[in-house]
């Protein structure tokens, strides 16, 4: 009775015996028909995730995709892993409970700008702060897709939508700053129309130990078409996107002829063409530099600066679920495995004859 037989541990033990088979992207496609609008950026995200998953060498029965509500949150239905389509905004909390109960699982969250930053903003910041090892993909289309086109917390000021016929008077969130402000240990951004880049960021997010936050610029071609075209289309992309890489100077432009230099705390664009500045004058990206991460994230709010994309910030700090498991192990070492009889009989008791 008192010896502890844990049913979940039995199952985990069993699965460990299974040799990891080699997967292809196709193995991660579920039997459900994908129901996003044709042309939606979500398709690309699904494809890139399915492409990266096989590289991770994790049995797919140990993977769970959790989501809230929204077009983006349909994601789990299309992955042939375990999947949990939750309620609006609550995916980070559901995933937190699951990860704490089952640290052995690999857990991803798919969420939207409304799901993750509006109704679920509270859960999003708290999972980041706790650093629970869950990977969060936030599909930012700057609109409420599923409810047919209201503005979202990332929609720009003045945006005309169904619910803002005179233009929105809401000031938007910058998702990267929300994540950084919430102490996330991994903060990144990528683009639906740059498959290679997205794959590399997803890979990094997967490898990171701790809450990984990935903002994905995603086109909603029905309700907010072209919101990110400046950053995703061939003609404008190079001059407007700064792809940051750890240890490399911040260079951008079609001709790789522009760079970012710090004037005090303010990033400014300098030309590398006229001989006045060389790459050695530029900021060298350092993913572990907290101050720099805020400066980089803030660049999105400044019109004349290129949009930073890539891994903005990545550091290691203790995992919530690991710390909790440690406390439990310690308690068991000190007091012995819990014994119900002992619990009920401890402290003051008396006999009635």
């Amino acid at each position: 009775m008192s010896e502890h037989t844990n049913l979940v541990e039995e199952i985990i033990k069993d699965t460990k015996k299974n040799p990891t088979q080699k997967y292809t992207a196709k193995d991660f496609q579920s039997d459900q028909d994908v129901r996003w609008c044709p042309g939606c950026g979500d398709y690309s995200i699904l494809a890139q995730v399915q492409r990266v998953m096989p590289e991770l060498d994790i049995p797919k029965h140990n993977m769970v995709f959790v989501s809230g509500i929204g077009c983006s949150s349909r994601f789990p239905y299309y992955m042939d892993t375990y999947g949990f389509h939750g309620i609006h905004g609550r995916a980070p909390a559901i995933a937190s409970g699951l990860k704490i109960a089952r640290p052995d699982l690999t857990i991803w969250v798919a969420t939207g700008d409304g799901d993750g930053l509006s109704i679920g903003g509270n859960h999003l910041i708290h999972i980041c702060r706790r650093n629970i090892d869950v990977k969060i993909l936030l599909f930012n289309n700057q609109i409420y897709g599923l409810t047919k086109g209201q503005y979202s917390p990332t929609s720009e000021f003045g945006k005309v939508t169904k619910s803002t016929p005179y233009g929105s008077v809401d000031h938007p969130f910058n998702p990267l700053l929300v994540a950084l402000g919430a102490e996330a240990s991994f903060v990144s951004r990528t683009l639906d129309r740059d498959p290679k880049h997205m794959q590399s960021v997803i890979r990094r997010a997967a490898e990171h130990k701790g809450t990984s936050f990935v903002e994905i610029y995603q086109n909603c071609n029905v309700f907010n078409d072209g919101a990110f075209f400046t950053f995703t289309e061939k003609e404008t992309k190079d001059d407007n996107v700064l792809f940051v890489e750890h240890g490399k100077p911040m260079i951008f432009g079609k001709e790789k002829d522009k760079g970012i230099k710090l004037e005090g705390f303010t990033p400014t664009v300098v030309s590398l063409k006229d001989g006045k500045y060389s790459p050695s004058d530029l900021i060298v990206h350092n993913e572990t530099d907290t101050m720099l991460s805020f400066i980089l994230a803030r660049m999105s709010n400044i019109a004349d600066l290129p949009r930073p994309v890539g891994v903005i910030y990545a550091v290691n700090r203790p995992l919530y679920e690991a710390e909790m498991s440690k406390q439990i192990q310690k308690a068991i070492e000190k007091q012995g495995e819990g014994n119900l009889e002992k619990l009920l009989n401890h402290g003051e008791t008396w006999e009635i004859h």
Partner: protein, 613 residues
């Protein structure tokens, strides 16, 4: 030394109710709890009612800062904390003013005269000192200089005034120990344990306790000393337990018996927080407690944990229940096991956080969008919370359903002696996880229980998707089909209804038929039991049915109701169970409702019985 006390008559009493009252900073809860454990050790039956303000340290001396602790103990069966008290210990004028109405005529007042200074009298709204103006003549008044005597006792120790003042509750406790012939040793032992790190406090509190005892023994002011013989409790090993402790332990027992880890997702709220505190202590049972960012995260994290194969639990009170509504619906749709504990308090809104009420019943039964049936069970005494919480775990796991466990502020903080159960005699809980991929469908049901398989992540070959969208019968795929939806709505209801086959039949206390059946639920058990027993002793044809299972009702409830000419339903709300009974059984239930944040007095129920019969 015992000369004086020998002179005093030792009177035998069957039952006594004492109320300790003072400022919230006066340590009245602690004093009451110490008196309780000592009394329990002596083998008395007992019931307690802590009654404290919502403010942690309300301004000293004010009426709203009064904290009280009532204990009813005896050599007979004790079911309530007592309708009125025999002894009132009042540390200041405010405590006297607030609690005097609960003292019976002729009762004893022990007042700390030093607390009745001009400032405190004014704060309590007394123009004259009630200790001197004759207004308390119908009581036996003893005004004792408790503060001064405490100072005297500690003179040698050179402690700060503040520390000395803090000990004065032990003086009052010592007096009560003397007056009711209780030993001091258990409290002295407790003091030594509690203040291990500060020997000077051990010395001070022990000295003051003994001084209080000696004061009773040596002074002439108390005419009598009392004895309350042990009660004829069922033989066995006992302990004292509060409802919240019992709830926490019942959940742990469910974890041990089922071989599943317990996960609690919770956001602090009075009067439920103590369950979170208690469970957080027992890490060696692998209990994982997660203090979430809000109530919604509390329940959704628990649902996530349940999906992963843990016993998911969330604990809260009314306002938190309101926030959890949508997620409860999700758990209904997902058909995952989950225990939702609602420790009811006075409402609506923030209401009366530290007071008791039973007004969340309809919220528990119906408070969700659409057809979202959830089994609801309610504990009936503090100790009963253990078996009821355990039962909630059992039902949740067996029927793959969220279960609502109802308790209330009165049960949560109240204590009673508990015959420690034999662990081996607890009902069996044997959950199984689906492991065989052959013929696996997420919503293919067990024929007997109608529950779906629990297929947890980590199981090879069972990868599947679930969610809040309507499910297709058997496959669990998303389905918008009209017939399927109706089928599934009925199926979820049928599953919950089927639990009626799995729970014991209800039994009536008293005769199986007669003129009046008093039907209660939850924490009113003790008051109704006492009232009905008193009336039966008078020869009235009245019986008592107390419901622990509210949803579904036990199978024989209708049969029982129809055997009585009248049905009376006393509730601490405006009539919620009565609505359910009328709707289901078409009985003209008479209601008796009280919503004062206080439990029923048995006399209130007795009066109503007299009115009907």
């Amino acid at each position: 030394m015992n000369k004086n006390s020998k002179n005093k008559a030792l009177k035998n009493l069957e039952e006594v109710t004492i109320r300790f009252a003072g400022d919230s900073g006066d340590g009245m809860q602690l004093t009451g709890m110490q008196f309780t454990s000592t009394t329990a050790l002596l083998g008395n039956d007992l019931s307690t009612l802590p009654d404290f303000p919502a403010e942690i340290r309300a301004p000293a001396g004010t009426l709203f800062g009064v904290s009280g602790f009532q204990i009813h103990f005896g050599s007979m069966e004790i079911n309530t904390p007592g309708d009125s008290c025999d002894v009132l210990v009042a540390m200041n004028p405010a405590a006297l003013k607030v609690n005097l109405r609960s003292l019976r005529d002729g009762g004893i007042i022990i007042a700390n005269r030093d607390g009745f200074n001009d400032k405190n009298l004014k704060l309590a709204g007394y123009e004259k000192n009630p200790l001197d103006d004759g207004s308390l003549d119908k009581y036996q008044l003893h005004a004792v200089d408790i503060t001064k005597l405490t100072h005297n006792a500690l003179e040698q120790l050179g402690l700060s005034n503040k520390l000395v003042e803090r000990s004065k509750n032990f003086f009052a406790l010592g007096m009560m120990y003397w007056m009711f012939s209780r030993p001091m040793e258990p409290t002295i032992k407790w003091i030594q344990e509690k203040f291990k790190k500060t020997p000077e406090i051990i010395e001070a509190n022990t000295k003051v306790l003994k001084a209080g005892y000696a004061f009773g023994e040596t002074t002439e002011i108390f005419a009598a000393r009392y004895e309350v013989k042990p009660a004829a409790l069922k033989p066995g090993k006992y302990r004292s337990i509060t409802g919240n402790e019992a709830t926490a332990w019942g959940l742990i027992a469910g974890s041990v018996k089922s071989g599943l880890d317990l996960f609690l997702g919770s956001y602090p709220i009075t009067p439920a927080s103590d369950i979170l505190h208690e469970l957080s202590k027992h890490k060696n049972f692998r209990v994982k407690t997660f203090q979430a960012e809000d109530e919604i995260a509390g329940i959704t994290s628990a649902i996530g944990a349940a999906y992963g194969g843990a016993i998911g639990v969330t604990t809260t009170s009314g306002p938190g229940m309101a926030l959890k509504g949508e997620a409860m619906g999700l758990a209904v749709m997902l058909e995952l096991p989950l225990v939702i504990c609602d420790i009811q308090r006075g409402g609506p809104s923030t209401g009366l956080p530290t007071k008791t009420e039973q007004a969340d019943l309809l919220q528990a039964v119906y408070g969700r969008n659409s057809e979202a049936p959830i089994p609801v069970i309610a504990s009936i005494t503090p100790a009963d919370c253990f078996l009821t919480a355990f039962e909630a775990v059992r039902l949740a796991l067996k029927y793959m359903t969220p279960v609502i466990f109802l308790s209330d502020g009165y049960l949560a903080n109240g204590a009673e002696p508990w015959l420690i159960p034999d662990v081996g005699s607890l009902p069996d809980i044997s959950p199984t996880f689906r492991t065989d991929p052959q013929g696996f469908y997420p919503y293919l049901r067990d024929e007997k229980t109608l529950s779906r398989p629990w297929a947890i992540p980590g199981t090879p070959g069972l990868e599947h998707r679930i969610g809040g969208l309507e499910k297709q019968h058997i496959t669990g795929n998303v389905s918008y089909d009209p017939e399927n939806h109706e089928f599934m709505v009925k199926m979820r209801q049928a599953k919950v209804d089927r639990i009626a086959e799995d729970i014991p039949l209800a039994h009536v206390e008293g005769d199986e038929q007669g003129d009046l059946l008093v039907v209660g639920w939850g924490g009113t058990y003790g008051a109704i039991r006492t009232a009905v027993e008193n009336k039966r002793r008078e020869g009235k044809s009245v019986s008592h049915l107390h419901l622990k299972y509210i949803c579904p009702f036990q199978k024989n409830i209708g049969e029982i109701l129809y055997n009585f000419k009248n049905v009376l339903v006393p509730e601490l709300n405006l009539g919620q169970l009565s609505k359910l009974l009328r709707a289901k059984y078409l009985v003209p239930a008479i209601t008796l409702n009280k919503v004062q944040g206080l439990p029923f007095k048995s006399i209130e129920i007795e009066n109503k019985i007299d009115e009907i019969l």
